[in-house]
Subunit: 133 residues, 4 copies
């Protein structure tokens, strides 16, 4: 199983940035590897500083549970099976849209996390990144 | 009162692993003693890395409050009596299914915590561990 | 590059436990994989509860910097080049003996961390674990 | 006062990477802006995962106190005027070489932080980054 390289991460980030530019919303974009460790991060000019941490948390979360943060979020609302998961792991678990696993040969080898706009925007920018992987 | 030994923990973990193998979902399994301190942990190959922390938190929580995390969760939803408990104790309180107290002679002497699947799966694997105690 | 499996971790822990028994000092023993994530942990009966965290931190540190915690510690004393590293990474960096990288085909693919006795004892128990890898 | 843009950060990181390649030591490189907030980070293939956090902390520290972490470290040894500063700010203060302020028109507008080798290597790679600013 090959891991996410810096070159991979840059390709993912470039595609995500292109999408963010298209929708006109500056974003934070982060990529982690199979161990959940950060490979690369960028904050586009004008993107929220509070989203630095969130983009990294979304990427980590998507790899840590092999799931998009959007789907995890659906299961983490009050009365749902994972409600409360957002305060585990030292508060590093993000349960709103923007994190998507990076899959190679059927195995999750990393993830991309995006934060800076609406949940829908973040998710679509992450998807654009995934397409380039 | 006898405490949970490493041998006890291994017996519990082995039974839990067997159940996890049967349902085909790799799990993190943790056992704590009467002080809430970790005795043993295993992450089965392929189990979520985000569940290392959660399995330990579930075990700790079950001993800390002498209750299953499933039952605690029912009392910790918005508007319920313990809502907010998940952010106490430095965020170590897990309020979703998978943690079960280990009882000997009517006394809670430890707990097992399982994380890696759905809430139902986690709880059933923890129950399998309990049976072996 | 193959990662550390649970079977690998158990073999390492078994060898470390044997050594701990020989020297008569109960130990906490932890094994992490290439991403620094915990694969397995055991606390032998009677071992210090304060060493649960330390054994895991030593294993994480050895993988995180591809070095034994003993050698890292030599470089992290006051006036040395890495003094202050122990408070980085959320305080997860251990700078005293007991953590050793696990190497396969020349690559660090994980690490073992031991805590429960003197620095010399911890290091020798970790070395016994390494031998079984 | 103009702030550090993503384009600035990329130019600094590219120069730092070039230097890291020359000395043959893979590095983590981070750039922060005038608010101490991360603009961009890269982990070169093979660089220590424990240095992700440290590179960011070094960059933050250099901007936070408008000083290189090497110079701050000299003042933060036991008996020196700032000893203990490394545990302030939630442990985010790095007191060993590798962080250097980015100056424009005599004003510190950001910083670069490098981690992945010896203190001397980290500092020289950060200096290479500074040159490109």
């Amino acid at each position: 199983m090959s891991n996410v390289t810096l070159e991979d991460a840059r390709r993912v980030i470039a595609a995500a940035e292109k999408k963010a530019d298209e929708i006109g919303q500056p974003m934070n974009i982060a990529v982690v590897d199979s161990g959940g460790n950060l490979v690369a991060h960028v904050r586009q000019d004008g993107a929220w500083i509070g989203s630095v941490n969130i983009s990294i948390s979304k990427a980590w979360t998507s790899k840590a549970f092999d799931i998009s943060t959007k789907d995890l979020g659906d299961n983490s609302q009050p009365t749902q099976q994972f409600f409360g998961i957002h305060t585990t792991n030292g508060g590093k678990v993000a349960i709103f849209a923007g994190g998507i696993p990076l899959v190679r040969d059927g195995v999750v080898v990393g993830a991309v996390g995006v934060s800076g706009g609406s949940g829908e925007q973040d998710h679509s920018v992450a998807e654009a990144g995934l397409t380039a992987f």
